[in-house]
Amino acid sequence: MFLAIKEMKHSKTRFAMIGAIIMLIAWLVFILSGLGNGLSTLAAATMKNIDGDLFIYEEGSEGTMMKTKVSGAIADDIEGKYGVKEAAKFGQSTIIVHNPKITDSKVNEDVAFLGIEPGKFIEPKVIEGKQLSNDNLFGVVIDESLADKGYSIGDKFEVTSSDITLEVVGITKGETFNHLPTVFVNVETWQSYAFAAPGSDNGLESPVAMIALQGENVDADAIASNYDAIETVTKSDAIMGMPGYKEESATIYMMLAFLFAISAVIIAVFFYVFILQKTQQFGVMKAIGASDRFIKNSIISQVFVLSLGSIIAGIGLTYLTALVFPEGMPFNLDFKMVLIYAVVLLIVSVLGSVISARQVTKIDPLTAIGRVE
Protein backbone atom coordinates (compact mmCIF):
# COMPACT_ATOMS: atom_id res chain seq x y z
CA MET A 1 0.00 0.00 0.00
CA PHE A 2 2.91 2.31 0.86
CA LEU A 3 4.45 2.07 -2.61
CA ALA A 4 1.07 1.93 -4.32
CA ILE A 5 -0.17 5.23 -2.93
CA LYS A 6 3.16 7.05 -3.24
CA GLU A 7 3.48 6.05 -6.86
CA MET A 8 -0.05 7.14 -7.73
CA LYS A 9 0.54 10.49 -6.07
CA HIS A 10 3.74 10.95 -8.01
CA SER A 11 2.44 9.92 -11.46
CA LYS A 12 -0.99 11.46 -11.28
CA THR A 13 -1.67 11.81 -15.01
CA ARG A 14 -0.75 8.27 -15.83
CA PHE A 15 -2.96 6.81 -13.12
CA ALA A 16 -5.75 9.31 -13.76
CA MET A 17 -5.88 8.07 -17.33
CA ILE A 18 -6.18 4.43 -16.38
CA GLY A 19 -8.66 5.39 -13.69
CA ALA A 20 -10.72 7.22 -16.30
CA ILE A 21 -10.81 4.14 -18.50
CA ILE A 22 -11.95 1.93 -15.63
CA MET A 23 -14.52 4.56 -14.72
CA LEU A 24 -15.89 4.59 -18.27
CA ILE A 25 -16.10 0.81 -18.32
CA ALA A 26 -17.95 0.86 -15.01
CA TRP A 27 -20.23 3.55 -16.37
CA LEU A 28 -21.01 1.45 -19.43
CA VAL A 29 -21.71 -1.57 -17.24
CA PHE A 30 -24.12 0.36 -15.01
CA ILE A 31 -25.89 2.10 -17.89
CA LEU A 32 -26.32 -1.21 -19.65
CA SER A 33 -27.62 -2.91 -16.54
CA GLY A 34 -30.02 -0.03 -15.96
CA LEU A 35 -31.27 -0.27 -19.52
CA GLY A 36 -31.59 -4.02 -19.28
CA ASN A 37 -33.51 -3.71 -16.07
CA GLY A 38 -35.72 -1.00 -17.54
CA LEU A 39 -36.43 -2.95 -20.68
CA SER A 40 -37.36 -6.14 -18.89
CA THR A 41 -39.51 -4.24 -16.43
CA LEU A 42 -41.27 -2.68 -19.34
CA ALA A 43 -41.67 -6.00 -21.08
CA ALA A 44 -43.15 -7.77 -18.14
CA ALA A 45 -44.24 -5.18 -15.62
CA THR A 46 -47.73 -6.64 -15.28
CA MET A 47 -46.39 -10.15 -14.92
CA LYS A 48 -43.87 -8.98 -12.31
CA ASN A 49 -46.55 -7.07 -10.46
CA ILE A 50 -48.82 -10.07 -10.15
CA ASP A 51 -48.22 -11.34 -6.67
CA GLY A 52 -48.82 -14.99 -7.57
CA ASP A 53 -46.97 -17.95 -6.09
CA LEU A 54 -47.75 -20.39 -8.88
CA PHE A 55 -49.35 -20.22 -12.32
CA ILE A 56 -51.50 -22.70 -14.22
CA TYR A 57 -50.80 -22.84 -17.96
CA GLU A 58 -51.94 -25.17 -20.69
CA GLU A 59 -50.02 -28.40 -20.88
CA GLY A 60 -47.20 -28.16 -23.43
CA SER A 61 -47.17 -24.35 -23.49
CA GLU A 62 -43.88 -24.35 -21.56
CA GLY A 63 -44.96 -21.27 -19.68
CA THR A 64 -45.26 -19.24 -22.86
CA MET A 65 -48.02 -16.67 -22.53
CA MET A 66 -48.94 -16.62 -26.20
CA LYS A 67 -49.67 -20.32 -26.45
CA THR A 68 -51.84 -21.10 -23.46
CA LYS A 69 -55.55 -21.68 -22.93
CA VAL A 70 -56.99 -23.27 -19.79
CA SER A 71 -60.44 -23.73 -18.35
CA GLY A 72 -61.50 -20.95 -15.97
CA ALA A 73 -63.60 -23.52 -14.11
CA ILE A 74 -60.38 -24.73 -12.52
CA ALA A 75 -60.00 -21.37 -10.77
CA ASP A 76 -63.45 -21.65 -9.22
CA ASP A 77 -62.80 -25.24 -8.16
CA ILE A 78 -59.25 -24.97 -6.83
CA GLU A 79 -59.65 -22.30 -4.16
CA GLY A 80 -59.20 -23.83 -0.72
CA LYS A 81 -57.54 -27.00 -2.09
CA TYR A 82 -53.83 -27.96 -2.36
CA GLY A 83 -52.81 -24.96 -0.27
CA VAL A 84 -54.38 -22.46 -2.69
CA LYS A 85 -55.88 -19.45 -0.92
CA GLU A 86 -56.95 -17.50 -3.95
CA ALA A 87 -57.08 -18.26 -7.67
CA ALA A 88 -57.36 -15.51 -10.29
CA LYS A 89 -58.27 -15.90 -13.94
CA PHE A 90 -56.18 -14.02 -16.45
CA GLY A 91 -56.72 -13.54 -20.16
CA GLN A 92 -54.64 -11.56 -22.62
CA SER A 93 -54.90 -10.47 -26.23
CA THR A 94 -53.30 -7.74 -28.28
CA ILE A 95 -55.87 -5.39 -29.76
CA ILE A 96 -55.97 -2.16 -31.69
CA VAL A 97 -58.10 0.57 -30.21
CA HIS A 98 -59.46 3.76 -31.64
CA ASN A 99 -60.47 6.77 -29.59
CA PRO A 100 -62.71 9.08 -31.63
CA LYS A 101 -61.67 11.97 -29.37
CA ILE A 102 -58.12 11.82 -30.68
CA THR A 103 -57.89 13.17 -34.21
CA ASP A 104 -54.18 13.51 -34.93
CA SER A 105 -52.36 11.26 -37.38
CA LYS A 106 -51.88 8.26 -35.11
CA VAL A 107 -55.42 7.54 -34.15
CA ASN A 108 -55.01 3.82 -33.54
CA GLU A 109 -53.07 2.31 -30.63
CA ASP A 110 -51.80 -1.22 -30.07
CA VAL A 111 -52.59 -2.25 -26.51
CA ALA A 112 -52.52 -5.37 -24.37
CA PHE A 113 -56.10 -6.32 -23.54
CA LEU A 114 -56.07 -8.14 -20.20
CA GLY A 115 -59.08 -9.89 -18.73
CA ILE A 116 -59.19 -10.19 -14.94
CA GLU A 117 -61.76 -10.74 -12.22
CA PRO A 118 -62.60 -7.59 -10.24
CA GLY A 119 -61.47 -7.79 -6.61
CA LYS A 120 -58.93 -10.59 -7.11
CA PHE A 121 -55.32 -10.11 -6.05
CA ILE A 122 -54.03 -9.54 -9.58
CA GLU A 123 -56.16 -6.45 -10.09
CA PRO A 124 -53.94 -3.35 -10.12
CA LYS A 125 -54.77 -0.39 -7.90
CA VAL A 126 -56.01 2.67 -9.77
CA ILE A 127 -54.31 6.01 -9.19
CA GLU A 128 -57.32 7.85 -10.55
CA GLY A 129 -60.97 6.89 -11.05
CA LYS A 130 -62.57 3.61 -10.02
CA GLN A 131 -61.60 -0.06 -9.90
CA LEU A 132 -63.28 -2.58 -12.20
CA SER A 133 -66.70 -3.88 -11.18
CA ASN A 134 -69.07 -6.63 -12.25
CA ASP A 135 -71.81 -4.05 -12.77
CA ASN A 136 -70.08 -2.33 -15.65
CA LEU A 137 -68.74 -5.05 -17.94
CA PHE A 138 -67.43 -2.59 -20.51
CA GLY A 139 -65.65 -0.28 -18.05
CA VAL A 140 -61.85 -0.58 -18.26
CA VAL A 141 -58.79 0.50 -16.27
CA ILE A 142 -55.98 1.75 -18.49
CA ASP A 143 -52.26 2.23 -17.86
CA GLU A 144 -50.80 5.69 -17.48
CA SER A 145 -48.83 5.23 -20.71
CA LEU A 146 -52.13 5.17 -22.61
CA ALA A 147 -53.42 8.13 -20.62
CA ASP A 148 -50.29 9.99 -21.76
CA LYS A 149 -51.52 9.49 -25.31
CA GLY A 150 -54.69 11.40 -24.62
CA TYR A 151 -57.03 8.80 -23.15
CA SER A 152 -58.87 10.03 -20.06
CA ILE A 153 -61.58 8.90 -17.66
CA GLY A 154 -64.99 8.84 -19.27
CA ASP A 155 -63.62 8.34 -22.80
CA LYS A 156 -65.40 5.74 -24.87
CA PHE A 157 -63.22 3.99 -27.43
CA GLU A 158 -63.63 1.24 -29.99
CA VAL A 159 -61.86 -2.03 -30.40
CA THR A 160 -61.14 -2.29 -34.12
CA SER A 161 -62.16 -5.51 -35.88
CA SER A 162 -64.96 -5.99 -33.37
CA ASP A 163 -68.07 -4.11 -32.35
CA ILE A 164 -67.06 -3.71 -28.70
CA THR A 165 -66.94 -0.22 -27.20
CA LEU A 166 -65.10 0.29 -23.92
CA GLU A 167 -65.20 3.08 -21.40
CA VAL A 168 -62.29 4.29 -19.27
CA VAL A 169 -63.24 4.16 -15.59
CA GLY A 170 -59.82 4.20 -13.95
CA ILE A 171 -56.12 4.79 -14.57
CA THR A 172 -53.30 2.71 -13.09
CA LYS A 173 -49.52 3.05 -13.41
CA GLY A 174 -46.45 0.90 -14.07
CA GLU A 175 -48.46 -1.74 -15.89
CA THR A 176 -47.05 -2.50 -19.30
CA PHE A 177 -47.16 -5.86 -20.95
CA ASN A 178 -44.83 -6.93 -23.71
CA HIS A 179 -43.85 -3.24 -24.12
CA LEU A 180 -47.51 -2.31 -24.73
CA PRO A 181 -49.82 -0.16 -22.61
CA THR A 182 -52.43 -2.25 -20.85
CA VAL A 183 -56.23 -2.13 -20.82
CA PHE A 184 -57.71 -4.16 -17.93
CA VAL A 185 -61.24 -5.44 -18.42
CA ASN A 186 -63.63 -7.85 -16.77
CA VAL A 187 -62.62 -11.37 -17.78
CA GLU A 188 -66.11 -12.10 -19.12
CA THR A 189 -65.87 -9.24 -21.58
CA TRP A 190 -62.43 -10.42 -22.58
CA GLN A 191 -63.79 -13.92 -23.20
CA SER A 192 -66.54 -12.61 -25.41
CA TYR A 193 -63.90 -10.79 -27.45
CA ALA A 194 -61.23 -13.48 -27.56
CA PHE A 195 -63.53 -16.39 -28.29
CA ALA A 196 -66.02 -14.62 -30.56
CA ALA A 197 -65.43 -17.16 -33.32
CA PRO A 198 -67.39 -20.34 -32.70
CA GLY A 199 -65.19 -23.28 -31.64
CA SER A 200 -62.16 -21.14 -30.81
CA ASP A 201 -62.59 -22.00 -27.12
CA ASN A 202 -61.51 -25.62 -27.81
CA GLY A 203 -64.58 -26.72 -25.91
CA LEU A 204 -63.16 -25.46 -22.62
CA GLU A 205 -65.52 -24.23 -19.99
CA SER A 206 -64.97 -20.48 -19.42
CA PRO A 207 -61.57 -20.43 -21.15
CA VAL A 208 -58.81 -18.07 -19.95
CA ALA A 209 -55.10 -17.77 -20.77
CA MET A 210 -53.83 -18.77 -17.39
CA ILE A 211 -54.69 -18.84 -13.71
CA ALA A 212 -52.57 -17.20 -11.02
CA LEU A 213 -52.56 -18.88 -7.60
CA GLN A 214 -51.78 -17.48 -4.18
CA GLY A 215 -51.13 -19.54 -1.05
CA GLU A 216 -48.51 -20.41 1.55
CA ASN A 217 -47.63 -23.96 0.52
CA VAL A 218 -49.17 -24.55 -2.85
CA ASP A 219 -48.76 -28.21 -3.86
CA ALA A 220 -47.74 -27.96 -7.51
CA ASP A 221 -47.48 -31.72 -8.10
CA ALA A 222 -50.92 -32.44 -6.72
CA ILE A 223 -52.45 -29.72 -8.87
CA ALA A 224 -50.74 -30.99 -12.01
CA SER A 225 -51.97 -34.52 -11.45
CA ASN A 226 -55.54 -33.61 -10.46
CA TYR A 227 -56.48 -31.44 -13.42
CA ASP A 228 -56.29 -32.42 -17.07
CA ALA A 229 -54.32 -30.65 -19.76
CA ILE A 230 -52.49 -28.19 -17.53
CA GLU A 231 -49.00 -27.57 -16.21
CA THR A 232 -47.84 -25.45 -13.30
CA VAL A 233 -45.23 -22.73 -13.75
CA THR A 234 -43.30 -20.70 -11.17
CA LYS A 235 -43.31 -16.93 -11.32
CA SER A 236 -39.78 -16.60 -12.65
CA ASP A 237 -40.52 -19.15 -15.38
CA ALA A 238 -43.71 -17.28 -16.22
CA ILE A 239 -41.72 -14.05 -16.62
CA MET A 240 -39.19 -15.88 -18.77
CA GLY A 241 -42.11 -17.05 -20.90
CA MET A 242 -43.07 -13.50 -21.77
CA PRO A 243 -42.57 -12.96 -25.50
CA GLY A 244 -39.02 -11.77 -26.22
CA TYR A 245 -38.13 -11.51 -22.54
CA LYS A 246 -35.57 -14.30 -22.53
CA GLU A 247 -33.92 -13.07 -25.72
CA GLU A 248 -33.73 -9.48 -24.52
CA SER A 249 -32.19 -10.42 -21.19
CA ALA A 250 -29.76 -12.80 -22.86
CA THR A 251 -28.53 -10.04 -25.16
CA ILE A 252 -27.92 -7.70 -22.29
CA TYR A 253 -26.26 -10.29 -20.08
CA MET A 254 -24.05 -11.20 -23.01
CA MET A 255 -22.92 -7.59 -23.39
CA LEU A 256 -22.27 -7.33 -19.65
CA ALA A 257 -20.24 -10.52 -19.64
CA PHE A 258 -18.11 -9.21 -22.51
CA LEU A 259 -17.61 -5.92 -20.71
CA PHE A 260 -16.37 -7.72 -17.62
CA ALA A 261 -14.00 -9.84 -19.66
CA ILE A 262 -12.74 -6.80 -21.57
CA SER A 263 -12.10 -4.83 -18.40
CA ALA A 264 -10.14 -7.72 -16.93
CA VAL A 265 -8.00 -7.88 -20.07
CA ILE A 266 -7.47 -4.10 -20.19
CA ILE A 267 -6.32 -4.00 -16.58
CA ALA A 268 -4.14 -7.06 -16.98
CA VAL A 269 -2.49 -5.57 -20.08
CA PHE A 270 -1.96 -2.14 -18.54
CA PHE A 271 -0.28 -3.54 -15.50
CA TYR A 272 1.68 -6.05 -17.52
CA VAL A 273 3.22 -3.13 -19.41
CA PHE A 274 3.76 -1.22 -16.15
CA ILE A 275 5.61 -4.12 -14.62
CA LEU A 276 7.75 -4.52 -17.73
CA GLN A 277 8.70 -0.85 -17.47
CA LYS A 278 9.59 -1.27 -13.83
CA THR A 279 11.63 -4.46 -14.10
CA GLN A 280 14.81 -2.58 -13.16
CA GLN A 281 13.15 -1.01 -10.08
CA PHE A 282 11.73 -4.30 -8.92
CA GLY A 283 15.12 -5.91 -9.46
CA VAL A 284 16.65 -3.32 -7.12
CA MET A 285 13.97 -3.89 -4.51
CA LYS A 286 14.54 -7.63 -4.69
CA ALA A 287 18.30 -7.13 -4.35
CA ILE A 288 17.72 -5.05 -1.22
CA GLY A 289 15.62 -7.90 0.14
CA ALA A 290 12.01 -7.35 -0.91
CA SER A 291 10.11 -10.61 -1.20
CA ASP A 292 8.01 -11.34 -4.28
CA ARG A 293 4.97 -11.05 -2.06
CA PHE A 294 5.85 -7.53 -0.98
CA ILE A 295 6.08 -6.37 -4.59
CA LYS A 296 2.99 -8.28 -5.74
CA ASN A 297 0.97 -6.93 -2.84
CA SER A 298 1.92 -3.40 -3.75
CA ILE A 299 0.85 -3.94 -7.38
CA ILE A 300 -2.43 -5.60 -6.46
CA SER A 301 -3.31 -3.08 -3.78
CA GLN A 302 -2.64 -0.34 -6.29
CA VAL A 303 -5.14 -1.85 -8.72
CA PHE A 304 -7.59 -2.32 -5.88
CA VAL A 305 -7.43 1.32 -4.78
CA LEU A 306 -7.50 2.59 -8.35
CA SER A 307 -10.44 0.38 -9.37
CA LEU A 308 -12.39 1.12 -6.22
CA GLY A 309 -12.06 4.86 -6.75
CA SER A 310 -12.86 4.61 -10.45
CA ILE A 311 -15.88 2.39 -9.94
CA ILE A 312 -17.30 4.72 -7.31
CA ALA A 313 -16.78 7.60 -9.74
CA GLY A 314 -18.50 5.45 -12.38
CA ILE A 315 -21.53 4.99 -10.11
CA GLY A 316 -21.71 8.74 -9.56
CA LEU A 317 -21.46 9.35 -13.30
CA THR A 318 -24.22 6.82 -13.93
CA TYR A 319 -26.66 8.51 -11.57
CA LEU A 320 -25.78 11.88 -13.10
CA THR A 321 -26.48 10.52 -16.57
CA ALA A 322 -29.76 9.06 -15.39
CA LEU A 323 -30.84 12.58 -14.46
CA VAL A 324 -30.50 13.82 -18.02
CA PHE A 325 -32.03 10.78 -19.73
CA PRO A 326 -35.24 11.72 -21.55
CA GLU A 327 -38.47 10.78 -19.84
CA GLY A 328 -39.92 7.55 -21.15
CA MET A 329 -36.48 5.99 -21.67
CA PRO A 330 -36.69 2.49 -20.21
CA PHE A 331 -33.95 3.08 -17.65
CA ASN A 332 -34.29 1.61 -14.22
CA LEU A 333 -31.34 1.54 -11.84
CA ASP A 334 -31.63 -0.97 -9.06
CA PHE A 335 -29.13 0.05 -6.37
CA LYS A 336 -28.64 -3.53 -5.22
CA MET A 337 -27.77 -4.54 -8.76
CA VAL A 338 -25.39 -1.60 -9.18
CA LEU A 339 -23.67 -2.72 -6.01
CA ILE A 340 -23.37 -6.29 -7.20
CA TYR A 341 -21.94 -5.26 -10.57
CA ALA A 342 -19.54 -2.87 -8.84
CA VAL A 343 -18.23 -5.70 -6.68
CA VAL A 344 -17.95 -8.05 -9.67
CA LEU A 345 -16.05 -5.39 -11.61
CA LEU A 346 -13.71 -4.83 -8.68
CA ILE A 347 -13.03 -8.55 -8.33
CA VAL A 348 -12.47 -8.90 -12.06
CA SER A 349 -9.94 -6.06 -12.18
CA VAL A 350 -8.06 -7.30 -9.14
CA LEU A 351 -7.92 -10.75 -10.76
CA GLY A 352 -6.50 -9.11 -13.89
CA SER A 353 -3.72 -7.56 -11.83
CA VAL A 354 -3.05 -10.82 -9.99
CA ILE A 355 -2.37 -12.45 -13.35
CA SER A 356 0.03 -9.68 -14.37
CA ALA A 357 1.75 -9.61 -11.00
CA ARG A 358 2.80 -13.22 -11.41
CA GLN A 359 5.66 -12.19 -13.67
CA VAL A 360 7.32 -10.41 -10.74
CA THR A 361 8.62 -13.83 -9.66
CA LYS A 362 10.66 -14.01 -12.88
CA ILE A 363 12.55 -10.76 -12.26
CA ASP A 364 16.16 -11.52 -11.31
CA PRO A 365 17.59 -9.35 -8.50
CA LEU A 366 20.99 -9.78 -10.15
CA THR A 367 19.93 -7.19 -12.75
CA ALA A 368 20.60 -4.57 -10.07
CA ILE A 369 24.27 -5.52 -9.73
CA GLY A 370 27.14 -4.84 -12.06
CA ARG A 371 25.29 -2.46 -14.32
CA VAL A 372 27.10 0.73 -15.11
CA GLU A 373 24.74 3.05 -16.90
Binding site: K6, S11, M285, A287, G289, L366, A368, I369, G370, V372
Partner: protein
Protein backbone atom coordinates in the same frame (compact mmCIF):
# COMPACT_ATOMS: atom_id res chain seq x y z
CA UNK B 1 33.94 -14.20 13.85
CA UNK B 2 31.45 -11.59 12.67
CA UNK B 3 31.95 -9.92 9.32
CA UNK B 4 32.29 -11.56 5.95
CA UNK B 5 34.21 -14.75 5.13
CA UNK B 6 34.54 -16.51 1.76
CA UNK B 7 36.36 -19.84 1.76
CA UNK B 8 37.62 -21.35 -1.52
CA UNK B 9 34.69 -20.05 -3.50
CA UNK B 10 34.34 -21.12 -7.12
CA UNK B 11 31.56 -19.98 -9.41
CA UNK B 12 31.00 -21.51 -12.83
CA UNK B 13 28.48 -20.35 -15.41
CA UNK B 14 27.23 -22.59 -18.16
CA UNK B 15 27.39 -20.96 -21.54
CA UNK B 16 26.00 -23.33 -24.11
CA UNK B 17 28.18 -26.45 -23.98
CA UNK B 18 31.16 -24.87 -22.20
CA UNK B 19 31.40 -23.58 -18.66
CA UNK B 20 33.05 -20.30 -17.68
CA UNK B 21 34.73 -20.07 -14.29
CA UNK B 22 33.95 -16.52 -13.18
CA UNK B 23 35.55 -17.12 -9.78
CA UNK B 24 38.38 -19.57 -9.13
CA UNK B 25 38.99 -20.68 -5.57
CA UNK B 26 38.54 -17.25 -4.06
CA UNK B 27 39.08 -16.72 -0.32
CA UNK B 28 38.50 -13.44 1.43
CA UNK B 29 37.73 -12.29 4.93
CA UNK B 30 36.64 -8.83 5.99
CA UNK B 31 36.47 -7.86 9.67
CA UNK B 32 34.04 -5.41 11.19
CA UNK B 33 35.35 -1.87 10.80
CA UNK B 34 37.40 -2.86 7.76
CA UNK B 35 36.91 -1.16 4.39
CA UNK B 36 38.44 -3.09 1.50
CA UNK B 37 38.53 -2.46 -2.25
CA UNK B 38 38.51 -4.84 -5.18
CA UNK B 39 39.87 -3.62 -8.49
CA UNK B 40 40.35 -5.37 -11.80
CA UNK B 41 39.43 -5.21 -15.46
CA UNK B 42 35.95 -5.56 -16.72
CA UNK B 43 34.74 -9.16 -16.94
CA UNK B 44 37.20 -10.39 -14.33
CA UNK B 45 34.52 -11.50 -11.86
CA UNK B 46 34.17 -8.57 -9.43
CA UNK B 47 30.40 -8.29 -9.65
CA UNK B 48 30.04 -12.04 -9.39
CA UNK B 49 32.05 -11.99 -6.17
CA UNK B 50 29.92 -9.19 -4.77
CA UNK B 51 26.72 -11.03 -5.72
CA UNK B 52 27.88 -14.14 -3.93
CA UNK B 53 28.94 -12.22 -0.83
CA UNK B 54 25.57 -10.44 -0.91
CA UNK B 55 23.44 -13.59 -1.05
CA UNK B 56 22.25 -12.88 -4.58
CA UNK B 57 24.06 -15.85 -6.08
CA UNK B 58 25.02 -19.24 -4.70
CA UNK B 59 28.62 -20.41 -5.12
CA UNK B 60 29.30 -23.57 -7.16
CA UNK B 61 31.88 -24.63 -4.60
CA UNK B 62 33.10 -23.27 -1.28
CA UNK B 63 31.55 -21.56 1.73
CA UNK B 64 30.17 -18.09 2.34
CA UNK B 65 29.77 -17.00 5.95
CA UNK B 66 28.03 -13.77 6.84
CA UNK B 67 28.07 -13.14 10.59
CA UNK B 68 28.86 -16.83 11.05
CA UNK B 69 25.79 -17.85 9.07
CA UNK B 70 26.48 -20.16 6.15
CA UNK B 71 24.32 -18.93 3.31
CA UNK B 72 25.37 -21.71 0.96
CA UNK B 73 22.33 -23.92 1.65
CA UNK B 74 19.62 -21.24 1.72
CA UNK B 75 16.59 -21.25 -0.54
CA UNK B 76 15.58 -18.24 -2.64
CA UNK B 77 13.01 -17.04 -0.07
CA UNK B 78 15.41 -17.29 2.86
CA UNK B 79 18.05 -15.51 0.83
CA UNK B 80 15.82 -12.52 0.19
CA UNK B 81 14.92 -12.09 3.84
CA UNK B 82 18.60 -12.60 4.73
CA UNK B 83 19.54 -9.78 2.36
CA UNK B 84 16.93 -7.59 3.98
CA UNK B 85 18.35 -7.96 7.48
CA UNK B 86 22.04 -8.75 7.05
CA UNK B 87 23.32 -7.09 3.87
CA UNK B 88 23.52 -3.45 2.86
CA UNK B 89 23.94 -2.86 -0.87
CA UNK B 90 25.15 0.43 -2.28
CA UNK B 91 23.98 0.34 -5.87
CA UNK B 92 24.26 2.67 -8.83
CA UNK B 93 22.72 6.13 -8.67
CA UNK B 94 20.02 5.09 -11.10
CA UNK B 95 18.82 2.56 -8.59
CA UNK B 96 16.71 4.82 -6.43
CA UNK B 97 12.92 4.49 -6.73
CA UNK B 98 11.84 7.52 -8.80
CA UNK B 99 8.55 8.18 -7.04
CA UNK B 100 9.83 8.07 -3.45
CA UNK B 101 11.31 11.06 -1.66
CA UNK B 102 14.65 10.81 0.10
CA UNK B 103 13.25 9.75 3.45
CA UNK B 104 10.84 7.24 1.90
CA UNK B 105 13.73 5.60 0.00
CA UNK B 106 15.02 4.53 3.41
CA UNK B 107 11.67 3.79 5.00
CA UNK B 108 10.85 1.44 2.10
CA UNK B 109 13.54 -0.91 3.44
CA UNK B 110 11.92 -0.84 6.89
CA UNK B 111 8.52 -1.31 5.28
CA UNK B 112 9.68 -4.53 3.64
CA UNK B 113 10.18 -5.97 7.13
CA UNK B 114 6.76 -4.87 8.37
CA UNK B 115 5.48 -1.78 10.10
CA UNK B 116 7.79 1.22 10.28
CA UNK B 117 8.51 2.17 13.90
CA UNK B 118 9.14 5.66 15.21
CA UNK B 119 12.63 4.50 16.15
CA UNK B 120 13.37 3.51 12.56
CA UNK B 121 12.17 6.89 11.28
CA UNK B 122 14.45 8.62 13.76
CA UNK B 123 17.41 6.46 12.74
CA UNK B 124 16.76 7.09 9.04
CA UNK B 125 16.63 10.84 9.60
CA UNK B 126 19.83 10.74 11.66
CA UNK B 127 21.60 8.81 8.88
CA UNK B 128 20.51 11.28 6.25
CA UNK B 129 21.58 14.21 8.39
CA UNK B 130 24.94 12.51 8.91
CA UNK B 131 25.37 12.38 5.14
CA UNK B 132 24.45 16.03 4.72
CA UNK B 133 20.96 15.40 3.40
CA UNK B 134 19.07 16.80 6.39
CA UNK B 135 17.52 19.54 4.27
CA UNK B 136 16.52 17.25 1.41
CA UNK B 137 14.27 14.73 3.12
CA UNK B 138 11.24 15.42 0.95
CA UNK B 139 13.10 15.80 -2.39
CA UNK B 140 12.59 13.27 -5.17
CA UNK B 141 15.59 11.68 -6.96
CA UNK B 142 15.15 13.84 -10.07
CA UNK B 143 15.52 16.93 -7.88
CA UNK B 144 18.93 15.82 -6.54
CA UNK B 145 22.45 16.03 -7.96
CA UNK B 146 24.32 12.83 -8.82
CA UNK B 147 26.38 13.05 -5.63
CA UNK B 148 23.32 13.59 -3.48
CA UNK B 149 21.61 10.61 -5.09
CA UNK B 150 24.58 8.43 -4.34
CA UNK B 151 24.60 9.59 -0.72
CA UNK B 152 20.94 8.55 -0.49
CA UNK B 153 21.95 5.14 -1.82
CA UNK B 154 24.63 4.96 0.91
CA UNK B 155 22.11 5.87 3.60
CA UNK B 156 19.74 3.24 2.25
CA UNK B 157 22.45 0.58 2.57
CA UNK B 158 23.00 1.48 6.21
CA UNK B 159 19.38 1.83 7.27
CA UNK B 160 18.82 -1.84 8.08
CA UNK B 161 21.88 -1.68 10.33
CA UNK B 162 23.39 -4.83 8.80
CA UNK B 163 26.97 -5.81 9.56
CA UNK B 164 28.05 -6.14 5.95
CA UNK B 165 28.10 -3.32 3.38
CA UNK B 166 28.73 -4.06 -0.30
CA UNK B 167 29.24 -1.36 -2.93
CA UNK B 168 29.38 -2.00 -6.67
CA UNK B 169 31.15 0.83 -8.49
CA UNK B 170 29.52 3.49 -6.32
CA UNK B 171 31.37 6.31 -8.07
CA UNK B 172 30.85 5.17 -11.64
CA UNK B 173 28.67 8.06 -12.77
CA UNK B 174 30.23 10.85 -10.69
CA UNK B 175 32.89 13.43 -11.48
CA UNK B 176 36.08 13.03 -9.43
CA UNK B 177 35.34 15.67 -6.78
CA UNK B 178 31.99 14.12 -6.02
CA UNK B 179 33.47 10.63 -6.21
CA UNK B 180 36.03 11.50 -3.50
CA UNK B 181 33.26 12.93 -1.33
CA UNK B 182 31.14 9.82 -1.66
CA UNK B 183 33.93 7.35 -0.94
CA UNK B 184 35.07 9.40 2.07
CA UNK B 185 31.54 9.28 3.35
CA UNK B 186 31.30 5.51 2.93
CA UNK B 187 34.56 5.20 4.85
CA UNK B 188 33.28 7.48 7.57
CA UNK B 189 30.07 5.49 8.05
CA UNK B 190 31.90 2.15 7.94
CA UNK B 191 34.33 3.23 10.67
CA UNK B 192 31.67 5.03 12.71
CA UNK B 193 29.28 2.07 12.70
CA UNK B 194 31.86 -0.72 12.66
CA UNK B 195 30.77 -2.50 9.45
CA UNK B 196 32.60 -4.98 7.24
CA UNK B 197 32.64 -3.23 3.87
CA UNK B 198 33.66 -4.24 0.34
CA UNK B 199 33.81 -1.79 -2.55
CA UNK B 200 34.26 -2.79 -6.17
CA UNK B 201 35.79 -0.02 -8.26
CA UNK B 202 37.94 0.51 -11.29
CA UNK B 203 38.95 3.99 -10.18
CA UNK B 204 42.51 3.69 -8.78
CA UNK B 205 42.30 7.10 -7.10
CA UNK B 206 39.72 5.82 -4.64
CA UNK B 207 42.06 3.22 -3.19
CA UNK B 208 43.75 5.57 -0.71
CA UNK B 209 40.60 5.47 1.42
CA UNK B 210 40.60 1.68 1.73
CA UNK B 211 42.34 -0.47 4.34
CA UNK B 212 43.20 -3.26 1.92
CA UNK B 213 43.18 -3.56 -1.84
CA UNK B 214 42.59 -6.81 -3.71
CA UNK B 215 43.03 -7.31 -7.42
CA UNK B 216 40.76 -9.57 -9.46
CA UNK B 217 42.13 -11.06 -12.67
CA UNK B 218 40.31 -13.79 -14.61
CA UNK B 219 38.48 -14.98 -11.52
CA UNK B 220 41.56 -15.11 -9.31
CA UNK B 221 41.74 -12.80 -6.30
CA UNK B 222 45.08 -11.59 -4.96
CA UNK B 223 45.92 -9.20 -2.15
CA UNK B 224 47.70 -6.20 -3.60
CA UNK B 225 48.19 -3.98 -0.58
Amino acid sequence: MTGLVLKNVTKSFKEGDSTVDALKNVSLSVNPGEFIAIIGPSGSGKSTLLSIAGALLQPSKGEVLVNDTNIGQMKEKELSSFRLTDIGFILQTSNLIPYLNVLDQLLLVCKMKGKVTAKEVKFAKALLKDLGLGQKLSKFPNELSGGERQRVAIARAFVNNSNVILADEPTASLDSNRAFEVVKQIRYEVKERNKAAVMVTHDERMLEFCDKVYRMEDGVLTLER
